[in-house]
Symmetry: C2
Subunit: 250 residues, 2 copies
């Protein structure tokens, strides 16, 4: 299986990073050589894996602005490597604005990482050059969202952007699915939004729901994805279920 | 009292909009003529007040790109008006990039709204032109954050941006405070992050903590701020306490 999945949604705090890192760890767990590319200047995927950003020689910033090969970094998790974020990424938006290739820089570099089975790209909560690079380079898009009213609103923006990218930059991009995260079964609003979502998007909404759990928040402060921090938790199993659903055994 | 407060943090989903709308409603409740300016293309402040974005003649987009006066819109709440968001705002980032005044468009327009006692500006989860317009126009900045590990990380980015704006665009800008939202008293991590925060930022961290409450999520789907939806709730009282703390009676 060869997969390149981008996690994107301009709505902030929906769990893009949490889901990207844990799905990547789930692929690594079943022996897929997996690479995470952190395109968010905040670098939560990088620190969420316990890596000190200040000690790095190169980063995803170099992927976008230089011709050099960027060596992925060990995460301490078998089969999982990362190309880390760097605060300079926020400058890339301005630096690349004159460059006609600004939105396809990453796409041109991905051939260098053909020996990975799975590549997972995390993006910031915006639809600028960094996110467009992720959308142009990937073959699959997962839109993470919360089952809340504000989240439904923002969905049209990311879906419109997906359609524009498909028509202009990356005709291969496929909306793999909409992933509902931090789902609270006992909340009426959550169930209302979920049924709204399913009536609009039908089978594009993953059956797998990632529940809200305090253990996710705790795992962050240990610099470990929950899959590793608390492997038997409900949330960890939900990520494994998601992987099964994606790979067709679901 | 004349106040112009901007809510900003590039970390997504921390409650910028929720806190901006409810603090504004708290000011309006004690008879201050209050104006909200929604600079986020997602427009959650606009819909969080039950306004249909598609029915509007003008918006905050016009504030940035045209010379016309933009008439604030009624919210149905006494003393509270809004200049709504519009999806075109995401285009403003690109449209204004050549304009040397791109970051101070809003600042030049605020004189037209002198008859308001309080102006509150909501910004998107990024540090681009839209947020810079908010930071240049305001006199006070409130940085909302969650008491979680990822959030501590991102704080240095918004604080660096605040310092750059003060030195180059708006010397009057004052960091009014760091507001901890969705605080969960019983969670060890929350208390650890809070004490870390207080040791770094001392009295810049508001004493008032906004607790996490399901009622906030429910209020969203009714298009009402929680101050109006559930006026006696713990969260509503926390917003009133915050107002007292800001205005010095705290
Ligand atoms: N299933 C979950 N249960 C509980 N908390 C969660 C869950 N998923 C994410 N979170 C928490 O929600 C917050 C936001 O998650 P995360 O940072 O992954 O979102 P994001 O969409 O990547 O944010 P940004 O828009 O800033 O990039 C985090 O602090 C995380 O701990
Ligand atoms: N005190 C609270 N208790 C419970 N839920 C909350 C609270 N404050 C905010 N929320 C929820 O968290 C989510 C994020 O809040 P909000 O949209 O206000 O954040 P934001 O920082 O404005 O997001 P963005 O970065 O996308 O602009 C919302 O769905 C909201 O319902
Ligand atoms: Mg993220
Ligand atoms: Mg917001």
């Amino acid at each position: 299986m060869k997969r390149t999945i981008v996690f994107s949604n301009q709505k902030g705090g929906v769990g893009k990073t949490t889901c990207a890192v844990n799905l990547a760890a789930s692929y690594a767990e079943i022996n897929n050589k997996t690479l995470i590319i952190d395109l968010d200047p905040q670098g939560n995927a990088t620190t969420g894996l316990g890596i000190n950003k200040r000690k790095l020689d190169s980063s995803s910033y170099d992927l976008l602005v230089s011709e050099d090969f960027v060596e992925p970094v060990d995460t301490g998790i078998d089969n999982l490597k990362i190309i880390c974020s760097h605060p300079n990424l926020s400058g890339a938006e301005v630096e690349l604005v004159e460059d006609s290739d600004r939105n396809i820089k990453l796409k041109k570099k991905l051939d260098n990482y053909r020996d990975f089975d799975v590549i997972i790209i995390d993006t910031p909560p915006s639809l600028g050059i960094l996110t467009l690079n992720g959308l142009s380079a990937a073959k699959d898009l997962i839109v993470t969202m919360q089952a809340e009213f504000y989240a439904l609103e923002g969905l049209s923006m990311i879906v419109n952007t997906y359609e524009k990218v498909r028509s202009r930059l990356n005709p291969e991009l496929n909306l793999l699915g909409i992933l509902v995260n931090m789902f609270m079964q006992r909340l009426v609003v959550s169930n209302e939004v979920l049924s709204d979502l399913r009536s609009h998007f039908n089978d594009k909404v993953f059956n797998t729901l990632i529940p809200r759990s305090i253990r996710v928040v705790e795992s962050q402060s240990y610099g470990k994805p929950i899959i590793i921090f608390d492997p038997k938790s409900v949330v960890s199993n939900a990520f494994r279920e998601l992987l099964q659903e994606i790979e067709g055994n679901g």
